[in-house]
């Protein structure tokens, strides 16, 4: 029998359900892995072992009494530190929220509790989810478990690293421009951004509200399907959450897909795409073909404008969302302000100047500029119109194909520090993932190979809005066993 942290989601679930494995045993094993590896990886910002063990015991007691158990069956889950858990520090990777303990829980946290997931702790992230490397966190950078000199990607780098290193079998991240899929690719795990509106954002600290979406990380497609099923669904507290039925993803992703039509985008294979990434992605697509899918070319003519569009829209929304951090209601408040002249204004300015890190300030500045009088039409409004064109491209492509397959990121994991002094280079690493956020469609990253240096590469699949079932079925077809991509060295 492989060690617990090496087992598939299926295997863990079967043991839990049969009563052969106690949730307490599994949770204890996860806490031991975290204890052993977190000083090296810095994936978790905080861990609440007592609460996790109490939750695990509750599942075990109810199972022993023959009561029905939620679909997560006592599996341990880590959550990105931008999701509110009542009474538990939620820092968002920022000095601004260093001491913030939300008085309420996010919808997804309530769902995890209802479905008997065991929340073990909060995962590291770029500050306010602004970044692609998990280096901008006030808690320090997370390291990639495949090679600790490299970034795990971001902004949900803690979640990807924790799952890859076997610290938890499941984790929740959020994806505004690729923040689930890119770290999943860099860390060799499965990560999925659902359709906008599929999962309630209630209790998710807002970054860019028209783009943010919560989604699952797991070692395998089954784990991602299960966790998505647990958190998806309508919630009146998020008015953009969609009132439509949640499919039985954890069962349906296993149903074979007849006649799957896959689109490949010629624009994906141009300048900037690393050769080894291209080879691995093409082998992933070939695997889908040999499983019976047909491949044809589709055009996303406006894809090359997605980074420029995103880096106007997302900072604009962020500058508005982050206006709430005023040093008064919650969050950091300066000790030093001029209480005499313009006291309130000075309090705002200094609290924000001290509380926010460099990348967050950069985006607030950019967004404020793009929305300011005289520039709104030239920047923000223009970006909204190009966004329409990007969406139209997807609509047209999906009239010919069921799924679009391609790279997640232009390269495998880059080195820590490599892009920190070049914001634009960092932004361009999101080029393949941003389109799905702008268009609101779901996307998933599935491991498809390794570079010669032994770093994971992900295959991205994208599907029309609310086609999560098809997307997961296709992902299951493309999924390789751990032996094919190799085992994470730290695991």
């Amino acid at each position: 029998m492989p060690e617990l942290h090496e087992q598939s989601t299926d295997s863990l679930l079967a043991s839990l359900q049969a009563g052969d494995l106690a949730s307490r045993t599994l949770t204890t094993a996860c806490l031991a892995r975290i204890d052993q590896l977190n000083s090296k990886l810095n994936a978790f910002i905080s861990v609440d072992a007592d609460a996790a063990l109490a939750q695990a015991d509750s599942v075990d007691t109810r199972r022993a009494a023959g009561e029905a158990i939620g679909m997560l069956q006592g599996l341990p889950v880590g959550i990105k530190d931008n999701m509110c858990q009542a009474g538990v520090a939620t820092t968002c990777g920022s000095r601004m929220l260093n001491n913030y303990r939300p008085p309420y829980s996010a919808h997804v946290v309530e769902r995890l509790n209802a479905e008997d997931g065991v929340i073990v702790g909060k995962l590291n992230m770029d500050e306010f989810a602004m970044g692609s490397s998990t280096e901008t966190s006030a808690s320090g950078a997370t390291r990639n478990p495949w090679d600790t000199d490299h970034s795990p990607g971001g902004s949900s780098g803690g979640a990807a690293a924790a799952v890859a290193a076997g610290m938890v079998p499941l984790a929740l991240g959020s994806d505004t421009g690729g923040s689930i899929r890119q770290p999943a690719s860099f860390c060799g795990v499965v990560g999925m951004k659902p359709t906008y509106g599929r999962v309630s954002r209630f209790g998710l600290v807002a970054f860019a509200s028209s783009l943010d979406q919560i989604g699952p990380f797991a070692k395998d497609v089954h784990g991602a399907a299960l966790l998505l099923q647990a958190i998806a669904g309508h919630d009146t507290r998020d008015t953009t959450s969609v009132d439509s039925d949640v499919a039985n993803y954890s069962v349906q992703h296993r149903q074979s897909l007849e006649g799957l039509r896959i689109g490949i985008v010629d624009e994906h294979y141009g300048e900037g795409l690393d050769d080894e990434v291209e080879t691995a992605v093409r082998s992933g697509i070939a695997r889908l073909e040999s499983a019976g899918a047909t491949v044809r070319s589709v055009k996303l003519s406006h894809a090359k404008y997605s980074v420029a569009t995103y880096y106007l829209i997302a900072p604009s929304e962020a500058s508005s969302n982050l206006a709430r951090y005023d040093g008064i209601h919650y969050g950091h408040r300066t000790e030093n302000f001029d209480s005499k002249n313009d006291g309130l204004l000075d309090l705002y300015r200094r609290s924000r100047g001290e509380g926010f890190g460099a990348e967050v300030k950069r985006r607030i500045m950019l967004g404020t500029y793009a929305l300011s009088s005289g520039y709104y039409d030239a920047y923000y409004l223009k970006a909204l119109k190009v966004r329409r064109r990007i969406r139209e491209d997807f609509d047209k492509a999906f009239s010919d194909v069921d799924v679009i397959a391609g790279p997640v990121a232009p390269t495998a994991a880059f080195r820590i520090g490599e892009k920190m002094n070049d914001p634009l280079a960092m932004y361009l690493s999101d080029i393949y993932t941003i389109g799905a956020n702008l268009a609101g469609i779901p996307g998933i990253s599935v491991p498809c190979g390794l570079t010669s240096a032994g770093l994971p590469i992900g295959l991205q699949l994208q599907a029309p809005a609310f086609s999560e079932t098809t997307l997961l079925q296709a992902a299951a077809m493309a999924e390789t066993s751990g032996e094919t991509i190799g085992a994470c060295p730290v695991a």
Partner: protein, 97 residues
């Protein structure tokens, strides 16, 4: 971007920035805004602005009283309170005694 312009943006954003930061963000913004000029190539004639990922409809709810956070919970993260209210610096001038 001129330093005065970047200072004005910082003021609109309610951010206290050092001279070094003003200079850095000025350079960053110049570079990023230069990059986004590429959008001028796109034919956006007749394109409807797309502020949201999906077409949103207004969501109504019945106008009923419902539970919300109690005062203690709402104030629990406030940097400064008197136990009943958030405390802010004085914003109205006092009448001379």
């Amino acid at each position: 971007m001129e330093i005065d312009e970047i200072r004005k943006v910082a003021s609109l954003a309610r951010l206290e920035l050092s001279d070094q930061e003003l200079q850095t963000y000025g350079q960053n913004l110049t570079e990023i805004l230069g990059y986004v000029e590429v959008l001028n190539e796109v034919d956006i004639e007749d394109a409807l602005p797309m502020p949201h990922a999906v077409d949103l409809q207004n969501v109504f709810r019945t106008d009923e009283r419902c539970l919300s956070l109690d005062r203690e919970a709402a104030l629990s993260n406030a940097p400064k309170t008197d136990g009943q209210f958030f405390q802010v610096p004085q914003i109205l001038e006092q009448k001379d005694a």
